[in-house]
């Protein structure tokens, strides 16, 4: 199995079915290539495309706060994004 993102690994075969499972860490279009080899060593390759859509980051700006004038607002926030190979930029307004 070649998932097109640099990952190549074996896949379980059940009768004449092949189970494919792979998590993509980056959006894009990937060519998945399946190569089935019989006992005689004959290889029957086939391929298809997988379109991985981008998932937007989920952001938590932290709790609401109250400060006094000329005081400093300080807070800790976080965000999550399933695209772990992504790069991110952040703006605060």
């Amino acid at each position: 199995m070649d998932y097109g993102d640099g990952t190549a690994e074996g896949a379980p075969v059940n009768g004449t079915s092949v189970w494919l499972s792979h998590a993509y860490v980056q959006d894009g279009t990937y060519t998945v290539t399946v190569a089935v080899t019989d006992d005689a060593g004959a290889v029957g390759p086939n391929s298809g495309s997988v379109v991985v859509n981008n998932v937007t980051p989920t952001v938590d700006a932290g709790p609401d706060a109250t400060v006094f004038e000329s005081g400093t607002f300080e807070s800790a926030g976080s965000f999550t994004d399933p695209g772990t190979a992504d790069s991110w930029s952040a703006t605060v307004n």
Partner: protein, 190 residues
């Protein structure tokens, strides 16, 4: 992934402020979240007129201690006051009374609150557009006694994010003690 926010609010602007954090990933996907920051500030409160009446004879089943105060808040306080969302808190000699948002009614050139007549607590709060306000309240057991007069009582008014507090100097009658200029005496006895 974690991040820290830090910002100092200087100068006087009406809060709350919406702090929006937007994160953009490499694919152009954007996620954002907003936190509200309320900036409290203090204003100078000076009382023009005050009167405290104590009912210590308890002729009534619930004694009727009154206090009436007239004063003025800076216009900047009114600029930031939103009666639909902001509460007003008055405290006097350890008693605190909160008018929740939406209890003020607009009448001519003022915001007006009228409390229940038969219950202890604030009876009336008029807040005029020019900043002048008038409070009439009746409480049970103000933490004062006639023997405390003349004396000083703490008084504060918070209007939305603005809070002002002062001390009221009361004379022996429970009225605001005013420093009167000494009367000029003619050296020739006239």
């Amino acid at each position: 992934m974690n991040f820290n926010l830090s910002h100092t609010y200087t100068g006087h602007q009406c809060s709350p402020f919406a702090v929006t954090v937007t994160v953009t990933d490499g694919g152009g996907g954007e996620g954002s979240s907003t936190a509200q920051v309320t900036v409290n500030y203090e204003y100078e409160l000076s009382v023009h007129k005050a009167n405290v009446r104590l009912d210590r004879r308890r002729r009534h089943r619930s004694n009727r201690d009154h206090f009436d105060v007239e004063s003025r808040v800076p216009l900047s306080v009114l600029d930031c006051f939103n009666p639909e969302t902001d509460a007003v808190t008055v405290s006097f000699q350890g008693l605190e009374w909160v008018i929740d948002a939406e209890f003020f009614v607009r009448k001519d050139d003022e915001w007006e609150f009228k409390g229940p007549r038969r219950e202890a607590g604030a009876r009336k709060f008029d807040l005029r557009d020019d900043g002048r306000f008038k409070i009439q309240a009746r409480y049970r057991n103000i933490d004062l006694d006639r023997a405390d007069f003349p004396g000083v009582v703490g008084f504060s008014v918070s209007i939305g994010p603005a809070s002002g507090d002062t001390e009221i100097q009361l004379d022996q009658h429970g009225r605001l003690r005013k420093e009167r200029p000494k009367r000029f005496r003619c050296p020739w006895g006239r």
